[in-house]
Symmetry: C2
Subunit: 518 residues, 2 copies
């Protein structure tokens, strides 16, 4: 059954507060399976040797000192940097060697992001891996409706799908852009969907400092008070590569850091355009950018939780299009993981990334190449783990459930090999002996239910059965699963008083300014 | 252009001997790009720690001593084992602890398999990875003809596709079963196809000892004399798990070992049926089987080249069907690699394995999961690297070229990270600076042609262009590539005298016995 909803009521849901409606909701709530975040019991794959790491680290420090980074339209940031000991030249910040490393020492090596259901809290950093859905696409696609602009109804559907997906630990952020709502107001509806349709942890808005402030305010309503001592959001702060920090993203980060909320500081790099075409060159620039960004985060609030990230794709030099699942991207993912771990910080990278227009073989090759690298490369926070299509332009319903199914594989590999006496299975080998078979033996009977990862999407039928059943491809099977999950969905209980307070906040904020599009 | 044939005559083909036809063939031969076998410049991923390895090794030795293995219908093998110091009880061979390890010390850590074109020789073992196509399916599938029994025409097509595929280093063996030819004669036509339609190394027949002898005899014709001092075949010897060595496979192995031809000694395990349901238990059994098989190979001819392999799948406990691309299979692949490397032997595993009936997303997820594990797990000889579909029942034309394209990714990752001054690209980072872009900079211009792996199949077009072009999925794109490769194919030159001698040998052998089917 795994992540399917069932009518079974054995998994009692925690309800906040005590209204009658909440109790009724609790009684009828379905059991939703949710896996704990991954805790790796396996080593990381390290592609760079010590000498290479030291060269990249030295080069990154040289870049920060000699070239520096730009903090645009942000005099307060320049002042913070000046006080910290950087050289300020207009909006250019040149950072003496070693200063960033010194500043980031206050950043925690790992942190807990709290969810409204404490069973869904995630630990980010160290040996963990937290999986979150696709972020950012303006379009959605499914088999029934094709490719179209995303709406708030789509957004709600993807929040529901993430909630129903056992292997996703996080509800994410902009699972798609609800383009039917004003740009200056849609963050409110997005947050409300995450807060009420799911009980998993979520991300805050970063598209303007005041929207970050709204995210904090709504979280305080949801969690019943100040969140200054309780990290309840992890939000995505992109660096504009090469080496530029704009005031909008930095303004949002300042709000989150001051409120002790986590940020992912992450360059978004299309290699060959925003960074050198070489792997080592890109790693060097990404490290310099990450150092400056995380150091600035700590300047805003020493000790605030912060993730260093790298989102790097290659470029198709024929068309200029970004490419995914490529060897260059994997090498950068592995190398950046080593560099970030040496800084003692949590690491963000990877995802179910692909360039394909359809959830077809191309999409799956590209996605699997990236997800496997993310697991072995030590990624702690993996955004875009399910649903990403067409270079991030599209959130795909079918690919969402296909990817979410594959994420179960990562959990199992991360467990490593069970070397207990039961795992060694010497008794079974003695019992069966040469020429026998294991299907009926005691060890198999005792272990088969949990021995193997099980898919909820893929097909293992005999050929004849599959042919009689209409020769369904993966997309068709996934389409059926989307419908089953959305049909089985039941909202997790929430205190009606909190719900009302959230709606009141949203209404007040929406009334306070006219709609703005674009 | 990569592996596409061109009319360019710049890549002159070596022709053997000197007939006029050979010279004419040479003049009109097309240039076919062929990558060198992979030489890893990256570490292997090691999932087992030292303690786990020692437990598995001790357990495997205990199995060999206490339970033993069966050598069926093979009195000579029993006599060899008795002389070597094993305990013989009927057909059961119990092998004292340490004896197998002692016997395999004569096996080389790596060897060269020669091709008729010396540029296509492959080194198997150490840091190399040799990629060979799918092996064994009785069916083929393509978009035009659907699923059907394979014929010799299909077989020839797959040999041509492997020859035209830049990233395949090996022509393989039974790329599909030519079911339209008598079982006792088809090996002759298969060998002839590999020998004359390709110039890459190939595998010999293992379905009967006399067919192995035919493989040696035809190879002697092709290579112009005895091959006793020149390994020209690597052939697949399956162990019947659990712990059974039948006389047919062992008989073929005896022929190859005595002729100094390489064998892959490999259990074929569906976990839960032919081995315990646990990873550690399966590794233990597979190691015991591999030790016994390789030791027996060395008993037949100390110093003969031999690969230790593991072909392990999980089982779908609902249907009993084998599954592929699963976490259990990856863990076994990684662990077995460590165990084989500790024995100092070349390692065979992996492939583009999948259970899917179609070359769709399921096939690609499963394939990519396995190919990535094979690269990082230290596989030296990777059979089934392209074209495997439906659990090995089907050779897929479209999947063949899709997989072959992905194999380029493995080559690039294996190179590791270029840490040269050019790779570090500090000059470019200085030149471009904060807020700039790299597309036009000198470093990009000098490097972009070789900077990124390039697909020959996948689509990176803008959405609108792709939509106008018919919204083609990967299978459709691959179908076009199959037709292009087969259309562009030109046979590599061969000395007509050799060709005639091969045909004469085949005719004589075919006349010597009546057709047998089944």
């Amino acid at each position: 059954m795994s992540e399917e909803a069932t009518s079974e009521n054995s998994g009692r849901r925690r309800a906040r507060g005590g209204g009658g409606a909440a109790r009724r909701a609790e009684r009828t709530a379905v059991k939703i399976e949710a896996a704990k975040y991954i805790e790796r019991n396996i080593p990381n794959f390290e592609i760079l040797n010590e000498e290479a790491l030291q060269i990249i680290e030295a080069n990154a420090e040289a870049i920060l000192e000699e070239i520096g980074v730009n903090f645009l339209d942000n005099p307060a940031a320049l002042e913070r940097w000046r006080e910290a000991g950087a050289d300020i030249d207009g909006e250019r910040v040149r950072i003496p060697k070693g200063l960033c490393r010194e500043l980031i020492k206050t950043a925690p090596g790992e942190y807990i992001q709290h969810a409204r259901n404490p069973d869904r809290n995630v630990r980010v950093g160290g040996n963990t891996m937290v999986l979150a859905p696709v972020y950012g696409p303006p379009f959605v696609r499914d088999m029934d409706g094709g490719r179209r602009y995303a709406t708030i109804a789509d957004f709600q559907n993807f929040v529901k799908l993430a909630y129903m997906s056992k292997w996703l630990h996080h509800s994410g952020g902009t699972v798609c852009e609800p383009t039917d709502i004003a740009v200056n107001k849609r963050h409110l509806d997005m947050l409300y969907a995450h807060m009420t349709l799911s009980d998993k942890p979520y991300m805050g808005s970063v598209t303007a400092p005041e929207r970050a402030q709204d995210s904090v305010a709504m979280s305080e309503i949801l969690f019943g008070g100040s969140v200054a001592n309780k990290t309840v959001m992890t939000s995505l702060i992109n660096i504009n590569s090469p080496m530029t920090f704009d005031d909008i993203m930095m303004g949002a980060m300042e709000v989150y850091a001051k409120n002790n909320q986590a940020c992912i500081v992450s360059p978004f790099i299309v290699g060959g355009a925003m960074a050198p075409v070489s792997v080592a060159g890109t790693l060097t620039q990404a490290l310099a950018e990450g150092l400056a960004g995380v150091a600035y985060n700590q300047l805003c609030n020493p000790g605030a939780p912060v993730i260093m990230g790298a989102f790097v794709t290659s470029i198709d030099m024929n068309s200029g299009a970004p490419t995914f699942g490529t060897p260059e991207a994997s090498k950068i993912l592995y190398g950046m993981g080593q560099l970030v771990r040496r800084l003692g910080l949590p690491y963000r990278s990877g995802g179910g990334l692909c360039a394909s227009k359809l959830p077809d073989a191309q999409a799956a090759y590209e996605t699997a190449n990236t997800l496997n690298a993310a697991l072995l490369g030590g990624v702690n926070f993996c955004l875009h783990a399910a649903g990403w299509l067409e270079g991030g332009l599209v959130s795909s319903y079918e690919k969402f459930v296909m990817d979410a199914d594959q994420l179960g594989i990562l959990h199992s590999i991360a467990e490593g090999v069970d070397m207990s006496e039961n795992g060694q299975a010497l008794g079974a080998i003695h019992e069966v002996g040469p020429g026998g078979h294991y299907l009926g033996c005691e060890h198999t009977q005792a272990n088969f239910k949990d021995a193997f990862w099980r898919t909820e999407v893929l097909d293992y039928k005999p050929y004849e059965t599959w042919a009689e059943d209409g020769e369904k491809d993966t997309m068709t099977l996934a389409n059926a699963r989307v419908k089953k999950l959305l049909g089985d969905y039941q909202q997790p209980a929430i205190d009606p008083a909190i719900d009302e307070a959230l709606l009141a906040y949203i209404a007040k904020r929406k009334e306070s300014e006219p709609d703005a599009f674009g």
